[in-house]
């Protein structure tokens, strides 16, 4: 029961944050809305027993990446409330229709059982047992450093390349 309550709470927060981000005029407000949505999503992760993911999501996404966004907005001095950059009515309509249709179809997919059959769950007990046995970090670390060690290392390389690329791109060219 309590799980349901929190789920509804987080869900409402996440949806509200997402909608707020899309609709807010001020980019800084958008970032804050997104932070709220991410917080809520981390909550959902916790409810789904992905504690470690929830933590990483908070730290990396909400904490690091979104702060980076915030920095850029501040850096470019865009943090003022100006007239909205939302598109005109035609685009709004098209966007909402296509987005709605997309959502609708995803729902149809759920209802048709294409996905839910897989989503039934291994059972709360198994999950709990695993968590107890290995710990929240352990359950993730095990496959990551056994099966997916090479992709993991490649991710590191990707980040390195991204850092170098970002520096090269953003560097002020010498006059």
């Amino acid at each position: 029961m309590i799980v349901d309550f929190f789920f509804v709470l987080f869900a409402v927060m996440a949806i509200g944050g997402a909608a707020g981000m899309v609709l807010a005029r001020n980019p800084v407000a958008s970032v804050m809305y997104l932070v709220m949505a991410f917080f809520a999503l981390s909550g959902v992760f916790v409810l789904l027993d992905a504690h470690f993911i929830a933590a990483v999501n908070l730290i990396v996404y909400a904490g690091a990446i979104l702060v980076l966004f915030l920095f850029v907005i501040m850096l470019l001095n865009l943090g003022r409330t100006e007239k909205t950059d939302l598109r005109g009515p035609l685009y709004r309509m098209l966007a909402i229709v296509s987005g709605g249709a997309f959502f609708g179809l995803l729902l149809v997919m759920l209802r048709g059982g294409h996905v839910t059959s897989m989503a039934g769950g291994m059972g709360q007990e198994t999950m709990d047992a695993m968590l107890r046995a290995r710990g929240a970090v352990g359950v993730v670390a095990d496959p990551m450093f056994r099966s997916y060690l090479v992709p993991f290392e490649i991710t590191a390389l990707l980040l390195l390349v991204a850092v170098v690329g970002a520096i090269v791109l953003a560097r002020q060219k010498a006059p």
């Binding site: 850029v72 950059d85 959502f103 993730v140």
Partner: protein, 99 residues
């Protein structure tokens, strides 16, 4: 219905909001954030499925976060260098590549 299904619905909704956001906004930074939202919606899906199909799915959440971080770094760098040129962040005005 159980929490997994609701989570999937939530994920779908967030993803849809993200796409609508990309379509609606002109500010390239906000569009970026919408993409981040979509990525996170996918993360949610992955977490849901990790409960039934194996815990490995959560490993991919890490990869997604890593790619998102890389993407954010490079993307924001591009935005900064474009901004230096044009003093604006309106995607509609970035059309050099259009032939």
């Amino acid at each position: 219905m159980d929490i997994e299904t609701y989570s999937l619905i939530l994920s779908a909704l967030l993803f849809a909001i993200g796409t609508v956001g990309v379509m609606l906004r002109r500010n390239v930074i906000i569009m970026f954030m919408c993409i981040e939202l979509m990525l996170n919606a996918v993360n949610l899906t992955l977490v849901v499925f990790s409960r039934s199909l194996g815990i490995e799915a959560q490993v991919f959440v890490f990869f997604v976060i890593a790619v998102a971080a890389a993407e954010a770094a490079v993307g924001l760098a591009i935005i900064i260098s474009i901004f230096r040129h044009y003093e604006l962040v309106d995607v509609d005005r970035f059309n050099l590549l259009k032939w």
